[in-house]
Amino acid sequence: MKLIRDYSVFLYRSGCLAFRGDWRYYLWMGFLSVLCLVGLNAYAKQIVHGLIVTGMSDQVSWGVYIANFTFLVGVAAAAVMLVIPVYIYKNEELHDLVIFGELLAVAAILMCLAFVTVDLGRPDRFWHLIPGIGKFNFPGSMLSWDVIVLNGYLLLNVHICGYLLFCRYRNTKPALWFYIPFVFIGIFWAISIHTVTAFLYVGLGGRPFWNSAIVGPRFIASAFTAGLALIILALQIIRRVTHYRIADKALLTLRGIVQIAMIINVFLLFNEVFKEFYTGNLHVASANYLYFGLHGHHALVPWIWTSIGFNLTAAVLLVLPASKSLRWLDLACVLAIVGIWIEKGMGLVIPGFVPTPLGEIVEYSPSLNETLICLGIWAFGFLCYTIFLRMSVPILQGTLSQAGENAPEPKESSNTLTQPVS
């Protein structure tokens, strides 16, 4: 009982922090809130008029919503690349940083869920998806697997972060049995969210562009690259706008991991390109469309070459010693994130639909309303992550603790988060 009370007080007190900060914090949060509202407004329009306000059609029936969803599942999964070194290889530098990765995973999953929801034609019927109440096509449908693994991953991470922070808040030692098992389940779970998401595509025999065994591994490699790159950037912002100390050494350890993930990613990409183009059978049409255009349609060509350019530059930068300097490392991370976002989003989802199984070519580009909804969801994600950090950094630093519960609140916390997270 007391525990529950304590936990609520802990949540309440850290929650209150989310509303406090200096003017830059307010400015940043205000900016994000406005974007969220703009997105909400666009979504309200979509609810009224239907998905016709997007650029999608019967020919290209998934668009940027699912593309962003796919990318963000990867970001969420990448948190394990911090968890594994810490819990399996007992890496010291990264130990305290794991929680930032896990919080990022939570924010990313929230965005994923939002992206799936806005993609539904009938969001009012979401309860049909709830196991037990609705009618759940399990284990047949990969989408039903996805619902389970995504929500499970969310719960796992919320539990681990919440528990560890709570212990820090109460200044007690976390009970190992109460979180270590979950950490290890979480490692497998992270791989599973990405694998299952890849299987959404791989399982479609009528779409040769997706129906290839390499899609799954490529998903994971690129996810780890982009997700870790995002974590590296986030950590640097944290140490800049708060007093939380993060050693250069930790960042460089992460660089080592990103480096390998990126090399594997590029290698797998090369494998795929070889298989498509060397054999050159009819199934190459989608890949042709993506890389070179098909019968005079080339909407995706500039995108994919930008992506390849970015990915290769990032790979080279990461391998060169230059990226031991943080400035180059940051550049490489930004390039990798943008490159992989394009490749996983526009480059994977859209060409699967072009040409259609009946050979028709209809191109897709997101509409304004669709773009606003996406921006809104991204803003929502940043908002969540900023709030999570605003709550957790003082706890990790010890300025917010149970001991201080009855003492008067500090008027202005020493931690302000005013910078964009990415």
């Binding site: 809130s33 509202l37 909400l40 407004n41 309200a44 009224v48 008029h49 239907g50 998905l51 016709i52 999608m56 059609s57 019967d58 020919q59 029936s61 993609d119 539904l120 034609g121 009938r122 969001p123 009012d124 019927r125 979401f126 049909h128 998806l129 009618k135 759940f136 096509n137 449908s141 990969m142 989408l143 039903s144 619902v147 959404l200 399982g203 479609l204 025999g205 009528g206 779409r207 800049r240 706008v241 708060t242 007093h243 009819l282 049409a285 019968h295 699967g352 639909f353 259609t356 199984p357 009946l358 050979g359 028709e360 003492a407 008067p408 609140e409 500090p410 008027k411 020493s414 302000t416």
Partner: protein, 321 residues
Amino acid sequence: MHGDNCQCSGPKCNSSGENSGQMDRRSFLRKSGLMATGIAAIAASLAPLRELTDMTSVEEFLQKHYQELTPEQMNKALDRITREVERQYSIRPHVRDLKPMDGVEFVYALNLTRCIGCRKCVHACVAENNQSRSPEIQYIRVLKMPNGTFDMEKGDHNYAPESVPEKGFFYMPVQCHQCHNPPCVKVCPVNATWQEKDGITVIDYDWCIGCRHCEAACPYWARRFNFTKPSIPKDQINPDMAYLGNRPRHQGVMEKCHFCIQRTRAGRYPACLEVCPTGARKFGNILDPNSEVSYILKNKRVFVLKEDVGTLPRFFYYFDV
């Protein structure tokens, strides 16, 4: 960049003294002001919802999956649909829930030698099945193929010559193949689409959540999505309706060819077959050895589309010569 902006981190500067009550009130006012602004902003951004005309009724919202409806609940659902159609289209429909017949498995056979690409089937289908006229939804797509190839990328979807047929081409209509091993059914997360005993893959339009996974899964591009509220002129409604068939659909759900359930389960031919001027379309019960389709499958040079994807279609193409 940090440090200089952190102000006092000690106890609240104003925690003592007689003006603390005033401060509390002021901060309370400020908080409620902020909250009110927030709520107003959210309300304003949701304003477009006021245009929502096609609200889901509570009855529809709570309705169970087709296969779980008791006969009573089904009657209620049919009643509700009748009322809805009447309200919207000012016509009293005859909505039925037709079950598959015993000992019947439907099969379609299409004679490519005879098809002249007139698209009469396409339009008969639209009229029969109450498909949206704007935006246009059509279940049948006719491809104009140059002689000598089956590469569908070479097909023309939008041919519009003065008259058909054109020399050097053949025409290939494609619609739902009612696969024996349907990928669309497998991927649906909520079982909103399934295969019935007579081989027809149906959709419960009141259960589909509109995720469009089935649309991506179908190798024959047979599924159509209601991207917006379908519109049908009142005088063009076909009042003879079936629950799993041609009753009007809502925005945001999937639909597709269902072999005219409202006709075929009542012993009639599909609309596309009846309208075909050349007799290129044949339909019947494959379990009956004396049916026309049984004869065709046994004696003609028959093939199915994309045999390699393993869907085992119940839609066959054949040549006369």
